[in-house]
């Protein structure tokens, strides 16, 4: 579709109207930028390495693909059961089963480099050094458009406390990645913290280009028949529509105080859900668990946003961003092209 063209059927419309632009830049301050054709990404862990859904989905139409979480070495993941359904949601404790950094660089990235859709590599480390190694190795690798830094992993050197838990450790990971990589850095915050706004500010100050808000909510399901936690890992991450109101609130709070783009992640299933996040202040959304249920959800949302903007007479998705907030508390206009 031409950027500023008109609809083929415009002859039947009352007047000519430019096709609304869905373009967003999720790293406006970065030398490479992270320009996406639309603000609908697919979330890490819900879209594999981008190939699995190809028989059902034109993946090249997506705003971007966040890869399965990548660790320095391949990981087997957790014992089973790994997943459980909960009201309008699910718990997962996969344990970062993935092919490892080397296979991503040698097998996945060359494939991604031939794709139109940007692929953002999601990285997980158990130490600052591992994050440095991951970010440094992926810097300049063709096919990697940006990094999503998963700070919700245990810091083995710090007694297993999560990097995401404090502003200091979250900022330290961000800074370490920033120092070794010129790629756009999207830092994925954890919702399982006391003050996520403080952490968002610290991560912004440490050099993040954008934030993804948020990872899964920590939860548990008890198998009352067996009288023990159902998941082998005992705890799991809650995702799906059940978490949406919690994360929309976090996006609303965070975008009031940071000036880098924020990507809303949590329970996005349809156009209206995406609109909630954009109106709350997000520059884009990630579709996650909904992919498991409706593999075409992200594409339907892209079309739905386009139709909504057209219907509202808006020319760009940027007009929507933060529109639900009172003007007095609106920060500087989020940078969206």
């Amino acid at each position: 579709m031409p950027e500023n063209g008109t609809h083929a059927s415009s002859g039947s419309l009352p007047r000519l109207r430019p096709t609304p632009s869905l373009r967003v830049n999720l790293a406006p301050n970065n030398m490479h930028g992270l320009e996406l054709a639309n603000p609908v990404l697919v979330a890490s862990g819900t879209f594999g390495y981008g190939t699995e859904y190809q028989p059902l989905v034109d993946v090249q139409r997506l705003g971007a693909i966040c890869s399965k979480g990548i660790t320095v070495r391949p990981r087997d993941g957790n014992p089973t059961p790994r997943i459980a359904e909960t009201p309008a949601g699910m718990l997962n404790a996969i344990g970062l089963q993935n092919v490892g950094l080397r296979a991503v660089v040698s097998e996945k990235a060359p494939m991604w480099s031939r794709w139109a859709v940007p692929v953002i590599a999601n990285i997980s480390g158990e130490s600052i050094g591992e994050f440095e190694h991951l970010a440094g190795t992926l810097d300049g690798v063709p096919g990697i458009a940006g990094l999503e830094v998963n700070i919700s992993c245990p810091n083995i050197r710090d007694g297993g406390r999560l990097f995401a838990d404090t502003a200091e450790s979250a900022a330290a990971v961000t800074r370490a990645c920033r120092d070794v990589s010129s790629l756009p850095l999207m830092v994925k915050l954890s919702p399982n913290v006391g003050n996520i706004v403080e952490i968002a500010q610290a991560v912004e100050a440490a050099g993040a280009d954008s934030l993804s808000v948020a990872n899964t909510l920590l939860g548990m399901l008890i198998d009352t028949k067996a009288r023990k936690p159902y998941l082998a890992n005992r705890t799991g991450g809650l995702s799906g529509p059940a978490v949406r109101p919690v994360i929309v609130r976090m996006v609303y709070q965070i975008t009031s105080v940071v000036s880098i783009p924020v990507v809303g992640v949590g329970g996005v299933t349809c156009t209206d859900d995406a609109l909630q996040y954009l109106m709350a202040g997000a520059s884009a959304v990630q579709v996650g668990t909904a992919n498991f249920v409706n593999p075409r959800a992200a594409l339907e949302i892209i079309d739905g946003l386009s139709a909504y903007l057209h219907q509202q007479g808006m020319t760009s998705v940027s007009e929507l961003i933060g529109i639900a907030r009172p003007p007095a508390v609106l920060p500087a206009v989020p940078t969206v092209v």
């Binding site: 028989p55 309008a88 699910m90 082998a232 498991f292």
Partner: protein, 266 residues
């Protein structure tokens, strides 16, 4: 494999809470193989959230039939769908059973509604001129799979745990008498039953005293809770000698010899 909107043309209750659903879909009828499954949305809303995997029970030119037992909220919605209901179906999915061209005599072991893919397999095997023995286990007489749902050429035996009908005990106790006769074994059901089949068919390997050597090929169709069924979420894995493998994509049919049974179920 694709996403389809398919209409239910018949829904018959054949055991308590257990329905045979006929789906009208020439595309699914043409592309489905025994051992494969379809992944079904329970409705247009997001609660229950996940699709439910259902084994393909019969394959017809104009569609497929499913054996659906209401074991929870989601499967109950699907099982009790009225004729004329349109279902959102993803499939066919997974690696099917294979029949070696030299195999003439097949022994099949089903536990509960694990009989479903074996009925499709038995029908295909009969078409290839094979002889088929089907052994099915049930909790009680009420849940014994009805013989009239099977092609008449199938030799059928069953057991009930409480002894209300057929052999009293576990279905796997019926298998040894067919092990010399058969060329291959196929099984589908709860993981402990599949493990028992694996041990019975490889007695030497599992250290059964005085056991004879048997290397007849054994294929098992694993059951596991799933979310995506597309190989993405890594939720439905089972432990194999090659590491964790996805039931949805690498299975559901596996060679029994590649499975690591200890600790594979909670």
């Amino acid at each position: 494999m694709d996403l389809y909107k398919v209409t239910i043309t018949a829904n018959e209750t054949i055991m308590p809470g257990t329905h045979v659903l006929d789906l009208d879909s020439p595309a699914l009828g043409k592309s489905s193989r025994p051992g494969q499954f379809v992944h079904i949305r329970t409705g247009p809303t997001w609660d229950p959230l996940l699709r439910r995997p259902m084994s393909i029970f019969r394959i017809r030119p104009d569609g497929v039939s499913l054996l659906v037992r209401a074991v929870g909220v989601g499967s109950q919605i699907i099982a009790e769908s009225a004729v004329g209901t349109e279902l959102d179906v993803l499939g066919p999915l997974g690696r099917p059973f294979t029949i070696d061209p030299t195999a003439r005599r097949l022994a099949m072991v089903g536990g509960g509604y694990g009989v479903a893919p074996l009925v499709a397999l038995a029908t295909e095997a009969l078409g290839k001129g094979c002889e088929v023995v089907l052994l099915v286990g049930a909790a009680t007489a009420d849940y014994v799979f009805p013989a009239d749902e099977l092609p008449p050429e199938v030799e059928y035996a069953f057991s009930t745990v409480d002894g209300t009908l057929g052999h009293r005990g576990l279905v796997t106790e019926l298998l040894p008498r067919y092990l010399d006769w058969c060329d291959a074994v196929y099984a589908c059901g709860p993981t402990p039953m599949l493990e028992a089949v694996a041990r019975l068919t490889r007695p030497a390997r599992y250290g059964v005293a005085g056991a004879m050597r048997s290397e007849k090929p054994v294929q098992v169709a694993m059951e596991q809770h799933m979310s995506c069924a597309m190989g993405v979420c890594l939720g439905c894995v089972v432990k194999t000698k090659k590491g964790y493998q996805r039931v949805c994509r690498d299975g559901p049919v596996f060679e029994a010899d590649v499975m690591v049974w200890e600790g594979s179920h909670a």
